[in-house]
Amino acid sequence: MSDQLTLSAETREKAGKGASRALRREGRIPAVIYGDKQDAQPIHVEERELTKLLHTGHMMNSLVEITLGKDKIRTLPKDVALHPVSDRPLHADFLRLAKGATVEVAVPVVFVNQEESPGLKRGGVLNVVRHELDLVCDAARIPDEIELDVTGLEVGDSIHISAVSLPEGSESAITDRDYTIATVVAPSALKKSDSETDEDEEETEGEEGAEAAEGAEGEATEGENSED
């Protein structure tokens, strides 16, 4: 189960981009707490504190207790808007939680026993289709991560949601289909071993040859010799 994180906040008096930008200049991030059939509460939090929580890697699937004056509000982070270039947080959304509430959260997936998979041992690549699983669970019992065992997986095998035993009290939010979480795919070297020699020739031809390599098809047909 995820740890409970804490964050101190202050009430935000003014809304809008001018006030929000002024806050950001002072190292504060505008945020909002909503839900539980109450009015939305605009707040602002310390940027450094929020960044620290973000970099724990499990903030989005942990309960965050927000200290607002004398009140302590139990929330679940729903969204953190990041700047597209600098990746600094711009705004955060927190969902106020009632007692016994069920929530939908994205829980990260961790793949264990990769050494025990014959497919991966032979050079196969674990192609992760979903890095996170959308689960519906009790707010007090959100799993930290979902461990998936890849023991015995061969090249071409895949793990579907139906094969995963979820922790007690959790169920998948997507129920209409048996979606794929990860597959073990053949490495590019095995797939394209025939064309390997052609590629080596191409590279020695220089620029003219490189133009002819239009059919190289992505990353698959790379020769082993290194120019570096």
Binding site: M59, V85, D87, V125, E222
Partner: protein
């Protein structure tokens, strides 16, 4: 090299690259990515050179995604030709890249290897870039 299979118009205006990337700024496929920090037209040749630099370094492990596509035809007049007489012929293809755009993504390789692979790819590109990872993953730092 990457280029469109068919096109609606043979030649395009030069255009300007303004503002930050409206989308494609977060990791969608892999665990590590190379993010553009400056606006620039990146040619198909540069994308291919960067791709080769990455695949050489990761040595057939892992999986690579290219998140930009050169869909802008860039024309050029031949040497020693007087001005006028219409626009030159298409010389190469380029992708218009805005700051914040993820150019490449990698998965299935350790963080330090991904970081070095991207560093080598960045040398082939005409812009400043940075290596990004999923939140909470710091294994690529200090590689």
């Amino acid at each position: 090299m990457l280029q469109p299979k068919k096109m609606k118009y043979r030649k395009a205006f030069k255009g300007k690259i303004k503002g930050n990337a409206p989308g494609g700024t977060t990791l969608n496929f892999g665990s590590y990515g190379l993010k553009a920090m400056e606006p620039e037209r990146i040619t198909a040749r540069q994308i291919e050179a960067a791709r080769r630099a990455i695949t050489r370094h990761i040595r057939r492990q892992g999986r690579l995604w290219i998140r930009v596509f050169p869909d802008v035809p860039v024309s050029k007049k031949p040497a020693e030709v007087r001005q006028g007489k219409g626009k030159g012929s298409v010389e190469y293809w380029a992708a218009r890249v805005k700051p914040g755009r993820i150019l490449f993504e990698l998965d299935g390789v350790p963080g330090p290897i991904a970081a070095v692979a991207f560093e080598r790819a960045a040398m082939k590109l005409p812009i400043k870039t940075k290596v990004v990872a999923r939140l909470g993953d710091t294994s690529h730092l200090g590689a």
